[in-house]
Amino acid sequence: MPENIRRTQSLYRRTMLRGGMAGAVTLGLGARAGFATDNTVRIGFLYPNLTTLILGVAQQIGAYQRQNLTVKDERFTSGQSVDGAQALWTGDLDLYFGGGPEVATLDSRSVDAGSGAPVAVVSGANAGHTNFVLGNKIKATSFDELVGHNLRIAVSSPSSDHLALFQGWLRVEKHMTPDQLGWQFLPVQGADMPTALLTDQIDGFLHSEPTTTLAIMSHAGRLFMSARSGDFGKDPPPMTFLMGNRAFLEKKPDLARRFMAAVFDANAHYSAASKEDNIKLISSWSGVKPEVLQIAYPRINPIMSMTKAQAQKWWDYIGVAMVARGEVSKKIEPFRDLFALQFQPLPASEI
């Protein structure tokens, strides 16, 4: 082959190679930086977990496709909401569903340090899903009998939303601090709680489903108090939050709105579907056995929707208690810093 043609060919090959590499690097960097098309949302959530059920419904019924959204998800295990919140704050995620108190503490640290609040609550779900399960070995019929005893109560993490609700209720209704209770709150993963109760390593736990039903079915404990029944205050607010990175919300409000529209689609579907259909769906999303879900069904509330009034309720009950305990900064103004509910397809007066 003549020399000049060979040289041209190899030059051509080299250019293609370099161009290809550059393109790959750009795409890679772009993907890493979230420099994706305007239809991609990166969301993290707890899984397998009944609290994040509504996302499973949305996926199942194709709600994302209807909004022309591509959803990339990252999954977290129980008790890891602190990591999720952190990923949200550093921009590795756009949205995170799970946890509750983490928003308030994270924003507090940032506000205290002089920068604004980097993370906001877009919506909330699982109102009233907190249950207090007490071990069968403890003979007591009312809460007051338990005060002052050294009980070991398990929670999924120190920032557990169940613990936050409990402490808020303690303050508002009982006018007590956790210290005065004399209880010990120990971190145990949700899945391990029924076993720990059965083997007498804990005396009770604060968690939702299916942990509660599993504990009852194995005769380890009984349902002592539940938020749904109003034992922790009337009309309990949504407890687990869909949080958003504020930069994302400011730059791409349309994406946020479309995502919430998809979620509200899922809300409607779940509310309208039959118990059997829902149980099938729940089982495939969470891996919990249908027999357990049959019993737990009434205590499961995956609907995601949060009004300003509900947000205020959350703040009055839980936020204020966190400020009193020193976990949340006094400088925090809930509606300036914590809540950005306007992306939900709800009437403007409510958000």
């Binding site: 340090a113 920068s115 709150f185 120990l186 390593q201 804990i202 305990r325 020193g326 976990e327």
Partner: protein, 294 residues
């Protein structure tokens, strides 16, 4: 060959060898010695702080790497028990430190009570060695962290679990070092002891034990570092007081500065423990007898 007279009878008066002059030299040298040590140590630490401050400025994320002055300010506030303490759920910093320290001491004492006699026994008795050594060598490679779930299973989420973990972390280094010490005793010393009437328990208590002390002290020192680390790991899971608990609380509330404060306090208390327990023992034994490990 010309022989020069040796002036061996020169008086000491007016020379540098006068006793008073020698004393003064000694004092000066010692004072310069620790002045130099402090200066060099301070320069080293200052270098670390500078690096820290620089990185903090560069990254600019106060929530991830707060600057040194923020952290020291927090330490000062916490140690002087100002309003910031509410986030620690009741006890103040001194109570948390005391809780961890108490667990460390108890675990350490139990480990010494078990490891030293075992080590001496295994070191001196072939029968005991053949019985016990395989068992101990089987358990030794298990890292301390792996014992934590077992501890929680056996003792529940209580103080006892933490103490158990400390015990395990301290036991093995102390045991192996004691055994080495017992084996390394000059056999002539043991012969002498026997010939002068020491037998059985008296032999072990009055001769083998003192002779093994240098190794025992080394074992204590090594084990103490590991044990202190284990306390923190165990407390994160199984306690409601203590520095490990504080670390976990700080993490779940995104308190980076308090996190670093807890780490610094852990280091300081660990160092203080070593000085208190091991250095004291050392001063009253090895330093007095000036025994060096061969």
């Amino acid at each position: 060959m010309l022989t020069r007279p040796m002036h061996n009878d020169m008086p000491l008066m007016g020379t540098a060898l006068q006793p008073a002059m020698l004393d003064q030299r000694g004092r000066q040298r010692r004072r310069r010695g620790w002045q130099r040590r402090i200066l060099r140590g301070a320069i080293g630490i200052f270098g670390l702080l500078t690096l820290w401050a620089a990185m903090s400025e560069y990254y600019g994320l106060a929530l991830i790497l707060p600057p040194p002055w923020t952290v020291f300010h927090d330490i000062f506030d916490t140690l002087t028990l100002d309003y910031r303490s509410p986030w620690m759920y009741g006890p103040n910093i001194y109570q948390h430190l005391a809780a961890s320290f108490a667990r460390a001491i108890v675990g350490f004492t139990l480990a010494a009570a078990a490891a030293i006699p075992c080590g001496l026994l295994v070191g001196r008795s072939r029968a005991m060695r053949e019985f016990l050594e395989p068992v101990i060598k089987l358990l030794y490679p298990i890292p301390g962290i792996a014992w934590i779930p077992l501890a929680i299973l056996w003792f529940g989420l209580t103080d006892k679990a933490v103490i158990f973990v400390v015990f395990i972390a301290e036991f093995f280094p102390l045991f192996f070092n004691t055994e080495a010490g017992a084996r390394a005793i000059n056999p002539l010393i043991v012969d002498a002891a026997r010939c002068y009437g020491a037998r059985g328990f008296t032999l072990v208590w009055r001769v083998i034990l003192p002779a093994s002390i240098p190794y025992i002290i080394t074992g204590m020192r090594i084990g103490l570092g590991g044990a202190w680390r284990m306390i923190v790991a165990a407390e994160m899971l199984a306690a409601k007081t203590g520095v490990g608990f504080l670390l976990m609380q700080a993490r779940f509330q995104f308190r980076a500065s308090d996190l670093m404060m807890a780490m610094i306090l852990i280091s300081v208390v660990g160092y203080a423990t070593e000085r208190l327990l091991v250095r004291t023992l050392e001063r009253r034994t090895v330093a007095k007898w000036e025994v060096n490990l061969a």
